[in-house]
């Protein structure tokens, strides 16, 4: 139980996928303009990430490891993620039009979200067990949402600021992200204190 908690906290705060590993930067820059849309994106990512790490763990440990096919892992993982996202999209669209309206437009973006594949790869390289992988996937998604929401909040206020012309748009967002990364640096060692 303690290990799970450690994974949970460290994935959200210390080894945050966005700020420490630069995963999922594209949607991070693209969708963080408005609070409402970043919330939708965050939820969609959390959902798919939990599901994909779970399924990737099963396939990796039940198929690839026994047959010694480690070199196929990238192809298999991306196949799983791409198909999964598409299936989730179809399901949501059919059974919950409300949810589809809220999350639908973000789902296709998720396939190309490096955070999802990154989470699957980290799970393998860190030798996580099944439950650990599920927790890792879930907390990875939460960490992504957290940073996305903080960023969106800052960017909404940034509109009132007099940003020098050449810094408007992407540059100021990147610099803000840099400052945010420094803030999160302070969480390093949280679990060793």
């Amino acid at each position: 139980m303690k290990e799970l908690l450690v994974i949970f906290i460290s994935t959200i705060l210390i080894n945050n996928l966005v700020l420490a590993y630069f995963l999922g930067i594209c949607p991070f820059l693209g969708v963080s303009g408005k609070l409402a849309s970043s919330f939708g994106m965050g939820m969609a990512v959390t959902f798919v990430m939990t599901l994909s790490t779970t399924i990737c763990w099963l396939i990796y440990n039940l198929l690839l490891v026994p047959f010694n096919l480690y070199f196929l892992q990238y192809v298999v993982f991306i196949l799983v993620i791409a198909s999964l996202v598409q299936m989730v999209e179809m399901f949501v669209r059919k059974f919950s039009p409300m949810l589809y309206n809220a999350l639908g437009i973000y789902l296709p973006l998720i396939t190309t979200n490096c955070a999802i594949l990154g989470a699957a790869l980290f799970m393998v390289s860190r030798n996580y067990g099944f439950i650990e992988s599920v927790v890792f996937g879930f907390s990875g998604g939460l960490g992504f949402s957290l940073v996305l929401l903080i960023m969106a909040g800052i960017r909404e206020d940034l509109k009132f600021c007099d940003v020098p012309r050449v810094f408007r748009g992407a540059p100021i967002t990147l610099i803000t992200a840099g400052l945010l990364a420094m803030v999160f640096l302070a969480f390093t060692g949280l679990l060793n204190g």
Binding site: S83, Q86, T111, N113, L121, V166, A170, P171, G178, L185
Partner: protein
């Protein structure tokens, strides 16, 4: 010619389109890493553009993304195997970011937006331009970070020993800051 030069400046993937950010920021702690990542991207982009452009008429819409990503993943695995076998040090430094080329938005974006609609030769030119543009972007970014954070470029000491390295430059935060300033600089040049 237009297909080729576009990626080098006007539609530069890193500084203009802000694509493929995750390897851009993650591996640019040293110039060697930046260059080898660039080379890997050029290789993958070239071959996957070739295949996607050849296959564009046979792939049904429902599995389009799945098929493209599988093709890209196959080439990335090839590069990964190759790096592991012949340049293991670089492979270790790039770590999980090499496989993440698969979801690099540049590659998928180019396959989706360009190679899947254009004839083979044009998409190959586009792929080369984008790949080279990406590589020089990576090289610039990683040189600045290596210089300020470690006093060196490509391992050669440039700044005198009296200069106290800015450690923050090789930490994640430095990546964001450097890229932010570079994009602003690009905007400034363009405004003239």
């Amino acid at each position: 010619m237009k297909e080729f030069t576009r990626g080098l400046w006007y539609e530069h993937p890193t500084f203009r389109q802000l694509l493929g950010m995750c390897p851009t920021l993650a591996v640019t702690t040293s110039a060697v890493n930046g260059l080898s990542m660039g080379a890997a991207v050029i290789f993958v982009l070239f071959f996957s553009s070739l295949i996607v452009s050849l296959m564009k008429n046979v792939v049904p819409a429902q599995v389009r993304i799945a098929v493209y990503t599988v093709i890209i993943a196959a080439f990335v695995t090839l590069v990964d195997i190759f790096f592991k076998a012949y340049i293991p040090d670089v492979s270790k430094n790039l770590g999980p970011y090499l496989p993440l080329i698969i979801v690099n938005c540049i590659i998928l974006g180019r396959c989706e937006a360009f190679a899947s609609k254009m004839p083979v030769i044009k998409s190959l030119k586009d792929a080369l331009g984008m790949g080279l543009g990406f590589t020089w972007g990576l090289f610039l970014l990683s040189s600045i970070r290596e210089l300020l954070g470690n006093r060196t470029i490509l391992g050669y000491q440039i700044l005198p020993a009296g200069y106290d390295p800015l450690i923050i430059m090789i930490l994640p935060a430095g990546a964001f800051l450097t890229l932010g300033f570079l994009v602003a600089l690009m905007n400034r040049i363009e405004q003239r």
